[in-house]
Subunit: 105 residues, 2 copies
DNA sequence: TTATCAAATCAAGAAATTTTGATTTGAGGT
DNA sequence: ACCTCAAATCAAAATTTCTTGATTTGATAA
């Protein structure tokens, strides 16, 4: 149960940091290699790697290794799942009549 | 520009914490007052207040004051806006194929 | 093999977030 | 006025996240 919330939170961590939002904007333009992201973000390599790991573990970004390079891209499936999850967790439950079942003290 | 990312990040901060996800799940059942949330979450009053502030500032939750009580509920409009934003920031831009050519010596 | 480069990982410190008892605010009720 | 209660705010500590130089890993080339 707590694991479920932890897993859900992990997905949205991708979007709650300014640098990761900027990286995602760069990736919207198409697949991009780490060195270009590093350059565009004006960030040390280890810092970029830290954020890319969070983005990948959220399922929103996919990494493709090609020789010694890694190319990153937005995962349409990951994005779709995130949107479905967001809809679920904010949708009011179907209750017949909004009568509170709790007894007034 | 940095302000934009900051504002976007603020919205998703509502969903990147386990306790806030649990609060949202409680609110999916309908409008709930702070004291009941406090009880259900088994959390000190000041802690709940801290999280409710983040949820309200994200626009996902609305508070309604009634006498000395405050009732919280999920905002359908805030939820809709969050979903639209999520779609925007993960949608690939319409461009020609622009593959990275890092492997070029 | 050795050298080189790209990226991940490590580790220690910096910065931000979260916790929680104490206090304050603000709206009734007496 | 006073008292009480609900909720917000404060403040200090605890915890988590983030930064970044240094190191390691892993692939390629000479």
């Amino acid at each position: 149960m707590a694991d479920l919330y932890e897993q859900q939170a992990k997905i949205f961590k991708a979007f709650c940091d300014e640098r990761r939002l900027r990286i995602l904007e760069l990736l919207r333009g198409g697949e991009t290699c780490a060195c270009k992201l590093c350059d565009a973000m004006d960030m040390p390599q280890s810092s970029l790697s830290y954020h890319m790991k969070i983005l990948c573990e959220s399922g929103i970004v996919l990494g493709r290794e090609e020789g010694k390079w890694t190319h990153y891209r937005i995962s349409p499936e990951g994005s779709r799942k995130a949107m479905e999850l967001l809809r679920e967790i904010t949708q009011l439950q179907e209750t017949e009549e909004s009568s509170c079942r709790c007894q007034k003290p």
